[in-house]
Symmetry: C2
Subunit: 323 residues, 2 copies
């Protein structure tokens, strides 16, 4: 139960259909984008976000039968996520993501800005055509949060005073908001009560934060092959995450290194060593575990099903990525 | 009646309020954006789009009394327009717009992409919170069209086979769609019949096309001081517009010059001279006049008022920019 393949098996056919649909929806109208769409939706992505939307949709509908709107919501979720990745890569001037060259790198700044804009625009349009104002509001908030998160990250660059609360807020904006609000939107499309929908929002919020904290730990402990980028990339770019924030409490010299902004590679290697040496990684792992456990609690009101089981196993899977 | 000041006087107070609101709405949450917001919404803009929305709103409401939603729609219209300008400047690597350095130039690629994203995101959010699905759909379509237009323009770069129909289609995407759909959205907020709303859409479509054709003529006939950029900038970047497309029919050598893509400045000067020499400018002027006349016809069903008069005078004003 530690690979996404077995975890997502109850919605495997749904995810295959989603990948095909995404390539067609995006590539069809604009040949210039079809190469980018093939690149973006072709492979590599974990499909975590649409998988959660589809699992919640099936877990909340009678006999697990979902509607075309649930499917469209899952597609919109992946489109918004992909649009934000494409623009993040422009903003951060990233050359590689998941071990694959970025759109920014392959097709240039111009196409990357346009492709991101087009994906955001398309998701807004499909969203409006779901004909559900509540869902439109939830996902519009996500698009705001994504922009706010990226701006916040820029503002806090190399800021050694960043609190763990501010880090979690930024992580909510950048990662958990999309998962939480699309989980709630799936519940709305299934006609659930406001309370049930709110519980699924909380499930998404906590699992999203757990996911982000784990990603941030892997940035220190993973190998270049697994990460598709060198270890310590976040730190190098000034993005302080849980392991570094915890480590700063016990390793004052880390502050000096971070404030020199890693012009010298040996500063970066020393900082990574300091973080790995202390309790920063372990405390971040505990934080992720707490978030994952909280997430599961919010599934209690769902009727038992293979879909609910998969949502619950997701918590274990998120943490299992660390081993 | 040929300056925007006198033309917009029935909504002058509304426009002042709009400018203040925009600076606050955008700058408030993110200090990093407040400099950009001040720069973007501070001065220079003609406020054509929100003026049309406000005039239509007042022309369609009893006693010309508008609601907060009408105002918000006008603000959203200007936000979407500004977001698209900011990203256009990134994509086209423009240094100057309206004689003022671009956000891209002043604050860099990173902030320009983020500021554009944030403005698009904010407009989607305010849009959803207008609580009117029809309006959400109309403006989401605009955001799609803007992205499609910019992509289309890239695809047709230096394409001497571009037809006048394809040019008008691109101009609709890039300029007229926003004016047409926001005009229709204002009508929806006023509770007008579908037929009246459609007429206002057509008014917006035709006035928007007239406006774009006039802008494209000015790119050839205006001075650097008036344009805020050198004459022939569109042509130089490969963006073929009405004067060039008409001129190509009578000046075959223009095709040779365009296909050499203006690596040499003398090619550009020769092309501009050829276009000014022939009937291209005159035929483009006639096209703009036809569009402006068509626009006015669609105002016939509105009750007489100073607002309707201003909308009608707008047609003259658009053309008067040529003299």
């Amino acid at each position: 139960m530690t690979s996404t393949t077995s975890l997502f098996s109850p919605v495997e056919a749904d995810l295959r259909l989603l990948s095909e649909n995404l390539k067609q929806l995006v590539g069809k109208r604009h040949p210039i984008l079809s190469a980018a769409a093939e690149h973006l939706f072709g492979a590599g992505g974990k499909r975590l976000r649409p998988a959660i939307v589809l699992l919640i949709s099936r877990a909340t509908m009678p006999d697990g039968e979902i509607t075309p709107r649930h499917r469209r919501l899952a597609e919109i979720t992946e489109m918004i996520h992909t649009a934000s990745l494409v623009h993040d890569d422009v903003v951060d001037e990233s050359e590689v993501r998941r071990g694959v060259p970025t759109v920014h790198n392959l097709f240039g700044n111009r196409i990357a800005v346009l492709a991101g804009d087009f994906l955001f625009a398309q998701s807004s349009w499909y969203l409006a055509n779901l004909d559900n104002l509540e869902v439109v509001k939830l996902l519009s908030q996500v698009i705001m949060d994504l922009a706010a998160g990226e701006i916040q990250q820029g503002l806090n660059s190399f800021d050694t005073n960043l609190s763990i609360e501010a880090y979690l807020q930024k992580s909510y904006y950048k990662t958990a908001s999309l998962i939480a609000n699309s989980a709630k939107a799936a519940a709305c499309l299934s006609g659930l009560s406001a309370e049930m929908a709110e519980n699924l929002y909380r499930y998404g919020r906590h699992i999203g934060l757990a996911f982000q904290v784990v990603d941030d730990i892997l940035d220190f402990t993973g190998s270049t092959e697994v990460l598709g980028k060198p270890a310590g990339s976040d730190l190098k770019s000034g993005n302080l995450t849980a392991p570094a924030i915890f480590a700063l409490e016990e390793k004052p010299y880390l502050e000096v290194l971070i404030e020199r902004e890693f012009c010298k590679d040996e500063d970066l290697q020393q900082a990574i060593a300091l973080i790995n040496e202390g309790m920063g990684i372990e405390r971040a792992r505990e934080l992720a575990a707490r978030e994952a456990r909280s997430a599961v609690e919010y599934l209690a009101d769902l009727p038992p099903s293979e879909y609910r089981q998969a949502l619950s196993d997701m918590a274990e899977y998120v943490l299992s990525r660390l081993y």
